[in-house]
């Protein structure tokens, strides 16, 4: 383990100079909410902490765009643009933990509103990157419609601190809805899947359809949010209740004072606890029920505690496991095998150290692995950034 030097640059120029002046391995971090996702990065020579690389650089309210330094927290941005009745239509569960715009882009994290607004990949219109050799590069711009040049913001989405440091981000904003109604009802995975399919097939256009387990049993809660004007939302909420009824879910409007509590509970169900291994699984939306049933069976057979939260209409699932490390790892492998066989994807996020030493965080390499490796070689020929993050895919020995 090398001595850890932590730098907190305040400008793009400082980041660039810092990287030009050094040549060791580097861990990039924002709030650290996704530091443990994927392969573990350990023993780097330098940590570049972006939490002083902050500030809203521009917010032209009438254009509904904003540019920020990447260490700006999502909460700060929301507060700044919220004064003008706008928001970045992104609500990841890590917002409360101080997640930064750069970190969210690099991690590719998203929240319930993805159903209506897409994820950060869909909302970023420009980016400033600093490469491991200190080169500063821009892509995109400040307008919402623009096809000039390669879209490097997409490339770094999900790059998890490899390839480049995200230094500035330009985003498209949306009007903050005047009214929001949350409909909630008890539902097991089968009912949630049925309700989600019916909502998808309807013209109701909910902003979010989420489901999470409430205990050891299969029982859970289905949460649906409708946004818009007071009149439109009232009509939508009635429509949602009717659709939920068809799926055998008794939905009702969540009292306003309980709404923040409910969504906080959901966010916690996605982030997980320190002792849990958190596995993110993406499948076809229609695979919710089979994914839940298979994972529960596998966990129960291995004596592992199991919890689940899903963006039910999107097919994005967070599975949380706790138990003996070897048993947890066996369950992860089982979940992965099931999801991959159905064309899905699996990433191990947080896990305790004793699980980390045993678990395969990434799984088998995709068919694009040689290409990913070449992209990495072009952007980061010496493997400076986040060594180990995509091991063993890239076949590099961490420096």
């Amino acid at each position: 383990m090398n001595a850890q030097v932590v730098e907190r640059p305040t400008s793009v120029e400082e980041v660039s100079q810092l990287l030009r002046d050094t040549d060791g391995t580097v861990l990039l971090r924002g709030a650290g909410t996704a530091l443990s996702w994927g392969g573990r990065v350990a023993g780097t020579d330098l940590t570049v902490d972006t939490r002083d690389l902050t500030g809203v650089l521009d917010h032209t309210a009438a254009d509904m765009t904003a540019s920020v330094r990447a260490g700006t927290t999502l909460a700060e941005l929301q507060a700044a643009v919220g004064e003008h009745g706008q928001w970045l239509a992104l609500d990841p569960p890590t917002e409360g933990a101080g997640a930064t715009l750069g970190g969210l882009l690099a991690a590719g994290d998203s929240g319930p509103s993805r159903l209506r607004h897409g994820n950060l990949r869909d909302l970023v219109i420009g980016v400033t990157l600093v490469l491991p050799d200190g080169t500063v590069a821009h892509s995109g711009g400040h307008v919402i419609k623009n096809v000039a040049g390669y879209d490097l913001a997409k490339l770094v989405h999900g790059s998890m601190g490899s390839l480049a440091l995200v230094a500035e981000v330009v985003v498209r904003l949306h009007p903050r809805p005047a009214e929001s109604v949350t409909t909630v009802g008890d539902a097991d995975a089968d009912q949630a899947a049925d309700a989600a399919a019916r909502l998808t097939a309807s013209t109701l256009e909910p902003t979010a359809v989420e489901w999470f387990t409430t205990g050891d049993a299969a029982a859970g809660r289905l949460v649906v949010r409708s946004d818009g004007s007071p009149v439109a939302v009232a009509v939508a909420a009635a429509g949602v209740e009717a659709v939920l009824g068809q799926a055998g879910v008794g939905g009702s409007t969540c009292p306003p004072e309980e709404v923040p509590v409910l969504w906080d509970e959901l966010a916690r169900a996605v982030v997980g606890e320190q002792d849990e291994t958190v596995v993110r699984v993406a499948t076809l939306p229609s695979d919710l029920a089979v994914t839940a049933a298979h994972a529960r069976r596998t966990a129960e057979a291995a004596g592992v505690r199991f919890r689940m939260a899903s963006s039910a209409a999107l097919g994005l699932h967070t599975l949380r496991l706790a138990g003996a490390p070897a048993a947890v790892v066996a369950v992860v492998d089982g979940i992965r095998g099931h999801a991959l066989a159905r064309g899905g994807s699996v990433l191990v996020r947080h896990r305790p150290d004793d699980v980390d030493s045993l678990v395969d965080a990434l799984g088998p390499p995709p068919s694009s692995v040689a290409l990913l490796r070449r992209v990495s070689d072009q952007f980061d020929p010496t493997g400076r950034f986040a060594p180990g993050r995509f091991e063993p895919w890239y076949g590099r020995t961490p420096a």
Partner: protein, 498 residues
């Protein structure tokens, strides 16, 4: 036709191309390995008809494996290739390399799978944009990106250009509507990106390839996202005494928190041309007209529509025409979408521009364009996607008048670069291609482009996939294109231009 032949320094090695042809004749039927000069000429340009280059070989593969075979042969002989869909692009993205290879995806037009429950469809690249929506129309689904050439342009081309359309203000671009793709890399290797899950592990290669204008890979299979048709659609046309007043209404609509499905503006010249061409019912005596369309749940649309009418009145509209039934709505859109081709009614020649500005600079850019047009002694008609600041100024000129063609081209380029000066972009949807490669340096630094080229090198180390596009090269930047000539499909009314 005063087409310009590009200089020869990037001409492919004709004997190497012949070796590729020989190799491919062994594995493909003769009619799909084209070297006949007459047939080759039909591939000499795309929708940017001022640039023309005859390729040495056109290949028509029918499967991913055949595409891979073609690219392996090109890779082996180091022959440049250009992938081509319907050839409707407006930036010369499918312009061949002289004596090089054109890979036409026109025969790969199968719909492979349709998943109504998960609202996705997997298709081959030669399927047209409109056919995707048509295949699921009875199920109440559609593919959102709607470039105006959608009846003939292909999904493969949409992926290459990251196509948008009139409704992308609300629904986004092709990149927001593709879940997975099969790529054939320039060395012939086959890679899958994306999948059944929305999230993939690692950098988003799919996002990097979409909009890369054929310079990174050939896409042979695409899984697209389908949307449910909205419950309600309402459309109005509002007349204004000035473009500034119309721009004020657009700002008012956005400030009210409404995201229309589309907001389009036409100025007097554009309206005159459109009315002569298709008689869609726009007012000939108005300075500017706004087309505003809302869609979504009925209650939301009705409420928003009343607000939009009120905002237009506050902004001084002189007349509001509501087009509420499908036939009336189709007429409004026919007029709007006919704008480019209609210019032929009021001018012998014209250049089509595609710049983007921040919406708030609209009044300023229109005033500057007026000044520049007066200075050049030319007329400029304006049609644009006002909601997202995407301008399509049409520079009118007469090539029979000495010097007008040069003045027109200069003015058109100056307008695109003015957009960058005002914080915008040189292209909102037509792409950089061969047309605007020289303007890239107005928008991006040497370092920006050097990093983009690193990405290209990772995909295509020998630079054989659509060379000479997107990035400025001395070869391209030293020469002038010919005048805009209507694409044959445009001239016969099959397609419309925005």
């Amino acid at each position: 036709m005063m087409a310009t032949m590009l200089s020869e320094d990037r001409r492919a090695d004709a004997s190497a191309t012949e070796r590729v042809a020989e190799r491919l004749r062994r594995v493909l039927p003769a009619e799909r390995v084209v070297t006949d000069i007459g047939r080759l000429r039909t591939y000499e340009c795309d929708g940017l008809t001022g640039y023309r280059v005859v390729p040495g070989l056109v290949v028509l593969p029918e499967t991913t494996e055949e595409v891979a075979t073609v690219l392996r042969a090109c890779h082996h002989e180091e022959v440049p290739f250009v992938a081509r869909g319907a050839g409707t692009g407006l930036s010369g993205g499918a312009l061949p390399v002289a004596d090089g290879v054109v890979v036409s995806l026109a025969r790969m037009r199968k719909v492979l799978t349709v998943d109504l429950v998960n609202q996705r469809m997997t298709v081959e690249p030669g399927v047209t944009n409109a056919d995707i929506s048509r295949a699921v129309a009875a199920d109440g689904l559609y593919f959102a990106p709607d470039p105006s050439s959608q009846t003939v342009c292909t999904i493969g081309g949409n992926v290459a250009e990251n196509s948008g359309g009139a409704h992308c203000l609300k629904y986004g671009f092709t990149t927001n509507h593709v879940y997975a793709m099969t790529l054939v890399l320039p060395d012939g290797s086959v890679v899958e990106v994306g999948g059944n899950g929305l999230d993939q592990v690692g950098p988003d290669v799919r996002g990097a390839v979409i909009g890369s204008e054929g310079t990174l890979a050939v896409v042979t299979r695409i899984t697209v996202r389908l949307l449910r048709r909205p419950e309600a659609v309402r459309t109005l046309v509002a007349d204004f005494d000035s473009a500034e007043a119309a721009g004020g209404a657009v700002s008012g609509i956005i400030a009210a928190g409404i995201i229309p499905a589309a907001v389009e503006m036409l100025d007097r010249l554009a309206i005159q041309a459109c009315e002569q061409a298709v008689n869609a019912g726009y007012s000939l005596d108005t300075a500017a007209a706004l087309v505003v369309e809302l869609d979504g749940p009925q209650a939301e649309v009705d409420e928003g529509f009343a607000q939009v009418e009120e905002i237009c009145r506050s902004a001084g509209t002189t007349k509001i025409t509501v087009a509420d039934d499908p036939a009336a709505r189709a007429r409004v859109w026919k007029g709007r979408k006919a704008a480019f081709a209609a210019m032929g009614r009021i001018s012998p020649d014209y250049f089509v521009q595609d710049g983007v500005i921040p919406r708030t600079r609209l009044g300023e850019v229109l005033a500057r364009i007026d000044e520049m047009a007066v200075e050049a002694g030319l007329r400029v008609a304006n049609v644009f996607h006002a909601g997202d600041g995407n301008l399509h100024p049409l520079v009118l000129y007469n090539s029979a008048v000495e010097g007008e063609s040069e003045r027109g081209e200069h003015l058109s380029t100056a307008i695109a670069e003015l957009c960058v000066e005002l914080g915008g972009s040189i292209t909102g949807e037509h792409g950089v291609g061969a047309d605007k490669a020289c303007s890239m340096s107005k928008m991006f630094s040497e370092d920006d482009m050097a990093v983009m080229k690193r990405l290209r090198t990772a995909f295509d180390p020998t630079g054989i996939s659509n060379p000479g596009k997107l990035f400025p090269t001395p070869r391209l930047c030293g020469e002038k294109p010919g005048k805009y000539v209507a694409h044959p499909l445009e001239a016969d009314g099959t397609i419309e231009r925005m």
